[in-house]
């Protein structure tokens, strides 16, 4: 096994850049997710790796095998790449039985009949689908079809597994289960895999690392925790779960990534950030609604604010409120119901300093980012 390296990938459709300078590496045995809103270029990137799209620029290498190199005019066709792929629609061939579906890839590889039987036995037991060999796809439930699609991709032991939103056709309950067993299977097989989804919860739950994309460009690469806790820009912060954004500029930079930010209203807040900032630089402070704490009384610390409940929603597991504060309205999620005037505390480790739009990591202003 080896690692997959994507470098400088660029693809235009009718003059619009669908993928722009995308580079990343998938290590041996790693599960990497391409995450982003629809139209962000994640599927195009996956199709370039699979060989269904010819990129305008860029190289894709797997170990020492070059799959695509636009400069040297190398392009391996999909059937030459030894890839396994699970499609959004599953694309099980309806005129073939489960056995024939699974055997097709093995026959293409001239695997002897005895070995074909053995491998299909193996993969079906792996996915707990023994005894389904003679069924046709339409005789299976959605969840079973999804697992057969995965089995078809695994049975010939491809170098890398590509998954294109494979869970999006399952209903919510089944999707949650599928997440668990997919993660468990991946841990067991240690397959090198690239997973495409627009569902951030799925990405966080399944991946070793996440590549967040928007408008054809990579916005962040990191482990799920890094991406969620310390997003590098407002787009990622908002896409990984809704966020409050407070505008201001750097006042002082202290020890251990502790930064003091002066908000537009004049209020000072303590926050943390990984990026390199300099005093006076305009920034945005991102605070997740779930991380804001409520204090009935307490010391008048730097990060406390008075707030007044404007409106509220009951979400079942929690309550969501819009609170009017001196720094503007804030969204807050709490386990307990709130009423009237309260004191809010923004923990400094949960206030993330991000460069304001216009800087190098531009992901669009938070205002036009999806919420």
């Amino acid at each position: 096994m080896a690692e997959l390296v994507v470098e400088g990938l660029r693809k235009r459709f009718d003059g619009v850049l669908a993928v722009d300078a995308v580079s990343f590496t998938v290590r041996d045995g790693e599960f990497v997710t391409l995450l982003g809103p629809s139209g962000c270029g994640k599927s195009t990137t996956l199709n370039c790796i699979a060989g269904f799209e010819v990129p305008d620029e860029g190289t894709i290498k797997f170990g020492d095998r070059i799959l695509t190199d636009t400069r040297r005019k190398i392009f391996l066709r999909p059937e030459a790449r030894n890839i396994g792929m699970v499609f959004q629609s599953y694309a099980l061939w309806p005129h073939m039985t489960v056995f024939e579906n699974l055997a097709f890839g093995l026959r293409m590889r001239r695997v002897p009949q005895v070995e074909i039987r053995r491998r299909i036995q193996w993969v079906l037991s792996l996915l707990q689908l023994e005894g389904f060999e003679r069924r046709y796809p339409h005789q299976l439930s959605g969840g079973q079809q999804q697992r057969i699609a995965l089995a078809r991709a695994l049975v010939y032991e491809p170098s890398i597994l590509l998954l294109d939103e494979p869970l999006s056709n399952l209903d919510a309950k089944l999707r949650e289960q599928a997440r668990f067993w997919l993660r468990e299977l991946q841990q067991r097989l240690r397959m090198t895999a690239i997973y495409v989804t627009h569902d951030q919860a799925e990405a966080l739950a399944l991946s070793d690392r996440v590549v967040v994309m928007n408008r054809g460009r990579i916005m962040a690469i990191g482990t799920p925790r890094e991406i969620y806790e310390l997003p590098p820009n407002p787009f990622v912060a908002d896409f990984m779960g809704s966020c409050n954004f407070l505008h201001g500029h750097i006042e002082t930079i202290g020890e251990a990534n502790r930064i003091t930010v002066k908000l537009h209203t004049g209020k000072l807040v303590q926050a943390s950030g990984l990026n390199q900032f300099s005093p006076g630089q305009p920034v945005i402070v991102a605070v997740r609604p779930q991380r804001v704490r409520i204090r009935t009384d307490g010391p008048k610390e730097m990060n406390t604010l008075p707030g007044k409940v404007e409106s509220g929603l009951y979400l079942g597991a929690s309550f969501q409120y819009i609170l009017e504060t001196p720094v503007g309205s804030l969204r807050v999620e709490t386990a307990e119901p709130l009423q009237g005037e309260v004191t809010l505390y923004l923990p400094p480790e949960c206030c993330i300093v991000l460069p304001a739009s216009g800087s190098e990591n531009d992901g669009g202003s938070p205002a036009d980012a999806p919420t």
């Binding site: 066709r77 059937e79 629609s89 694309a91 991709a153």
Partner: protein
């Protein structure tokens, strides 16, 4: 598993893929160019294209444009095509709305009868109409004796247009009813909610929504009407009214080789005109729109309750079907079994099998039936398979010329049947060694396939679009080459559509005559050409018998296709 071996195999398969795709494109281009090149060439030549003394000239065009007869032909053709289109639109739309949107009694049976002309040769329908409505027709004579004078004249531009309207109404009917089946009935409900009555809703909502379908079918009707041969041949020639195709036919059959230049020049002008119309059609609707599938949501529209008007509407519809379709067909069957068909004679007193004895006793007549059947049976199969390959290269490959291939394959829509025949004839005369093809049905088969690639295309393409591209991708990614994917995944998935397309091409080939009238020779007669020969000799009995044989074969085949292949044809 050995990755290097996979790569090596894939590379070898890639070469085969390219070769196959290239071959399909090459054959298509060749087939379409075959009839066109000699015609364009001949139109600039002073003498027949196989004569050594030929020289380049523009005189053919000048002669043609100065010919007053040709000018009359053009105006006749235009009047006929416009009137036919108008009538076809009115018949087709009215019937589509009545069938799809009202509770008119008996509408499902009506729907089937209204589209039945699609399965019949226009030659058969035209001959059948003369049996009933012609100057010596059954009803004509009957009404003449009652009224003391003729109430109509079928042998006129008006008569031809009425027949044309009936014959081409299925086009409008199919497009309009398809559009009605797909359109969201909530749009009509919304109009009712805001206070519009049913008739206003029909006029202000339903009809405007049909506009794209009507525009498309109207243009289609116009194009086909402008090139049709049998209607002017049967109804116009006896009284000297020529339309474009019958004019070419006269020039070719009567004038012979001396008129090659004129024939070619007229053909080129017609091709330019039809190409313009086809391009217009594409522009107005977009190339893909044509293939939009008719199987959409199964939401059922609320049917407009017609009440007592319903019976009146049903009665008019049945009268239409009875007069325009059923009666003529009954008439031609009756004529084939009688020595003389007249309202003043008991037909049972003059029944005879002589016409059939004549047909089945004469080797060249029998041969024409056998030839037609063979071309339909084998040529139809080859045709639909080849069309499927063209479709798959055009829509499911990364072949670099696939867009060009699409245009070339669909271009025969702009080539009138008679011109396809002339073009192939001249190619066979021009190229040494091909001359013998004329006397075999192979030449005819090539011409028929070329002419009807767009038909097969229309039958296969919607099915191709219904198969998600992930199906092919799934096969490619597990290691199958393009050809293997076609063979193991796409063709099996297209099975039903291919059977349907085959049934369609069979019927189309069986009834084809226009591209054969110039091309056939001794040994390669088909039903249509024999019918025209017999008709020119005035043998209406044997002509009817042959027509009945053709219709019987069609009906038999439709039953067989439905029973064995599970094919349901909606045209």
């Amino acid at each position: 598993m050995e990755v290097a071996a996979i790569v090596q195999r894939a590379e070898r398969a890639a070469v085969a893929d390219r070769l196959f795709q290239g071959l399909v494109a090459l054959i298509t281009i060749f087939l379409v160019a075959l009839p066109l090149v000699p015609i364009v060439y001949q139109s600039f030549l002073s003498s027949p294209l196989y004569e050594p003394s030929r020289a380049l000239t523009l005189s053919n065009y000048l002669r043609l444009l100065q010919n007053p007869e040709f000018r009359e032909v053009l105006s006749n053709t235009l009047v006929f095509a416009i009137a036919t289109t108008a009538l076809g639109l009115v018949f087709g739309t009215t019937l589509a709305i009545l069938v799809m949107r009202t509770d008119m009694p008996g509408r499902t049976y009506l729907a089937r009868l209204v589209i039945s002309p699609l399965f019949l040769s226009p030659l058969v329908i035209a001959l059948a109409w003369t049996v009933i409505f012609g100057p010596q027709g059954y009803l004509t004579q009957l009404f003449r004796s009652l009224a003391g004078r003729d109430l109509w004249n079928l042998y006129s531009l008006g008569g031809m247009a009425v027949l044309g309207g009936v014959y081409y109404a299925p086009y409008t009917y199919l497009y309009a009813s398809g559009s009605l089946a797909l359109s969201d009935p909530a749009v009509e409900d919304a109009a009712r909610i805001v206070g519009a009555g049913p008739l206003r809703t029909l006029w202000w909502v339903t009809l405007p929504l049909l506009r794209p379908a009507l525009l498309h079918s109207g243009l289609l009707t116009f194009i086909t009407a402008a090139e049709v041969l049998s209607i002017p041949l049967v109804l116009g020639t006896p009284v000297g009214i020529e339309l474009f195709s019958s004019f070419l036919y006269k020039l070719g059959i009567v004038g012979g080789t001396t008129e090659y230049g004129m024939i070619a020049a007229a053909s080129v002008l017609m091709l330019v005109f039809l190409t313009f119309l086809i391009a217009l059609q594409e522009r107005l609707l977009g190339a893909r729109r044509r293939f939009v599938t008719m199987t959409g949501r199964a939401t059922r529209a609320r049917l407009l309750s017609l009440g007592r008007i319903g019976w009146a509407a049903a009665a008019s519809c049945w009268l239409y079907v009875l007069l325009a379709i059923i009666l003529p067909l009954v008439g031609i069957v009756a004529q084939s079994f009688t020595a003389f068909l007249s309202p003043f004679m008991n037909p049972l007193a003059v029944t005879t099998l002589d016409h059939y004895r004549l047909i089945f006793g004469h080797p060249s007549y029998v041969r024409s039936i056998f030839n037609s059947f063979l071309i339909a049976f084998a040529g139809g199969a080859v045709g639909i398979l080849f069309t499927a390959f063209v479709t798959l290269v055009a829509f499911r490959s990364d072949f670099s010329l696939r867009r060009l291939l699409l245009y070339v394959a669909l271009y025969p829509r702009a080539i009138p049947g008679i011109i396809v025949g002339i073009g192939f004839l001249w190619t066979f005369l021009l190229l040494p060694g091909l001359g013998t093809l004329r006397n075999t049905i192979l030449g005819l088969t090539l011409a028929f396939i070329t002419r009807y690639i767009p038909y097969g295309f229309g039958a296969v393409t919607p099915a191709v679009f219904r198969i998600t591209e992930e199906m092919d991708r799934a096969a490619r990614v597990v290691g199958a080459s393009w050809i293997t994917t076609i063979r193991n995944v796409l063709l099996p998935l297209l099975r039903e559509a291919l059977f349907g397309g085959y049934a369609l091409l069979f019927i189309t080939f069986l009834k084809e005559y226009a591209s054969a009238v110039f091309l056939f020779a001794r040994g390669s007669e088909v039903i249509g050409t024999t019918m025209i020969e017999l008709w020119r000799q005035g043998d209406s009995g044997p002509v009817s018998a042959l027509a009945v044989v053709q219709v019987a074969l069609t009906v038999l085949w439709l039953g067989l296709a439905r029973g064995l292949l599970g094919v349901k044809l909606h045209g």
